[in-house]
């Protein structure tokens, strides 16, 4: 869904009118889009016929954070406030995480959103939702999705770091520099720890994190996933996309937490 918003924003830049979005016929899908706050977020990005109110009303929701636009410091505060109110119950009931996990989860979202403001220099969106990955993993997961329409990792780091990489400088080296080595465009030694700390927390929860920017994607891959840690030569993606998957604690044969 946040990918659709990014695609619509880019398409809108290249034409005079807003791009037209045709909604699916399925009431379930429209209801899901509504629960995630997609239609509010899509206003001003797409031209679409708002669904009937009946279709948009949802039942029980596993939404930790509806799609939220992030373009300022105040937006980050709002994200953190909303998540504190909604995340704790889902992280505990669906993932089996301890009650204090909502704090770490909020800290992670705060750092992710700040990346948009400080490094993308452009607006972005964030959303988080719980899913039952019964077939894929046999467990519930929470998926956090963050995208922006900014200058991407290569653009953000080029001024400070491209020279030292010489001919090797590109999307994948820029991602490696930020993701693996904590490089940032700011000279301040206190900077660059956001992504490193997010990776650390994701690892503690046995989760997966990937960042796609430009033509490359880098990731920290847990044992339950078989994605390659670095891929280059993908279709170009303006800005950046961060995806985090947090799985429920694995249970052992006795039904107790084993992860």
């Amino acid at each position: 869904m946040v990918g659709l918003l990014l695609a619509g924003t880019i398409a809108g830049r290249e034409q005079a009118a807003l791009p037209r979005l045709g909604l699916p016929e399925s009431h379930d899908v429209v209801g899901y889009l509504a629960r995630m706050g997609f239609f509010e977020a899509a206003r001003g990005i797409y031209d679409f016929d708002a669904p009937a109110r009946r279709a948009s009303s949802g039942g029980r929701s596993d939404v930790l954070l509806e799609i939220t636009s992030v373009s300022s410091n105040a937006d980050v505060h709002e994200v953190v406030d909303r998540v504190q109110g909604q995340a704790g119950a889902i992280l505990t009931s669906k993932l089996g995480y301890p009650g204090t996990a909502a704090v770490q989860f909020s800290v992670m979202l705060s750092e992710l959103c700040q990346n948009i403001i400080e490094h993308a220099d452009a607006p972005g969106w964030v959303a988080a939702q719980a899913y039952n990955w019964a077939k894929r993993l046999g467990r519930f997961v929470v998926v956090i999705s963050v995208m922006d329409v900014g200058r991407g990792f290569r653009g953000s780091l080029a001024g400070e770091h491209s020279l030292r990489y010489g001919d090797r400088w590109g999307d994948s080296t820029a991602l490696e520099a930020a993701f693996l080595h904590g490089l940032t465009r700011f000279p301040d030694s206190g900077r660059g720890q956001g992504i490193q700390q997010i990776r650390k927390q994701v690892r503690r929860w046995d989760g997966a994190i990937t960042i796609r920017s430009g033509t490359a994607r880098i990731g920290q891959v847990p044992e339950w996933d078989d994605a390659p840690p670095l891929v280059d030569g993908l279709a170009p993606l303006p800005g950046a996309q961060v995806s985090i998957i947090l799985p429920a604690k694995a249970t052992d044969a006795f039904g107790t937490g084993g992860a």
Partner: protein, 200 residues
């Protein structure tokens, strides 16, 4: 000249944050005291520094986090690490800090930024229980423990309590790093926790 900093000051970060957030979020009312984002952290640090610098050339501040629900890494860096760095130089003002209300949800963020910047701080982790957080040597931790146990060490007691040269060196290190206060008048070294005890 007094032996200890005059009138230690207590600064409630939750209160400072509330004032800062009323500017950041304008009409939005928050149920939470979330110390997040660098600009918010910078504003909170500036407000703390105003109070510290108004307290004279030698000051001791108790920075209380107990009303803060969340602190992210960016704010931990701005409010704790950069605050300490600001006053590590030899020149005045000579500022000392104790951080209280550093509960479990805050601890990792604060410890991470301190360690990254090779800093350490005296923190109250549980009511009345103090510790050193951040980067410090085993010797510094041991000597800090002796100082904490005694509350203060007179200049004449140093050799008896810390017979090893390494330990005496570590005591000097604690003073240089603003983790203990040495009276310029008597040479007595004070545990910071004892000097703010009446504010807790």
């Amino acid at each position: 000249m007094t032996d200890v900093p005059r009138d230690p000051i207590a600064i409630d970060v939750g209160e400072v944050l509330g004032e800062v957030l009323s500017d950041v979020k304008r009409s939005v009312t928050s149920l939470y005291s979330s110390l997040v984002t660098r600009p918010t952290g910078r504003a909170v640090r500036s407000a703390i520094q105003l109070q510290v610098e108004g307290a004279g050339t030698v000051s001791l501040s108790l920075i209380d986090f107990s009303e803060v629900s969340i602190i992210d890494f960016s704010c931990a860096d701005e409010v704790v690490a950069k605050l300490l760095q600001e006053y590590l130089d030899d020149g005045p003002p000579d500022a000392y800090f104790v951080f209280s209300g550093v509960h479990e949800p805050h601890r990792d963020q604060i410890e991470t930024v301190l360690t990254r910047q090779a800093l350490a701080a005296v923190v109250e982790t549980h009511p009345g229980v103090f510790g050193l957080l951040g980067k410090h040597s085993a010797g510094e931790a041991r000597v800090w423990g002796v100082l904490e146990e005694h509350g203060a060490i007179d200049a004449e007691e140093v050799d008896a309590l810390l017979p090893g040269a390494e330990d005496r060196e570590a005591l000097g290190g604690l003073v240089r790093r603003r983790l203990a206060f040495r009276s310029p008048a008597s040479g007595r070294v004070h545990a910071l926790s004892r000097l703010v005890h009446h504010l807790l």
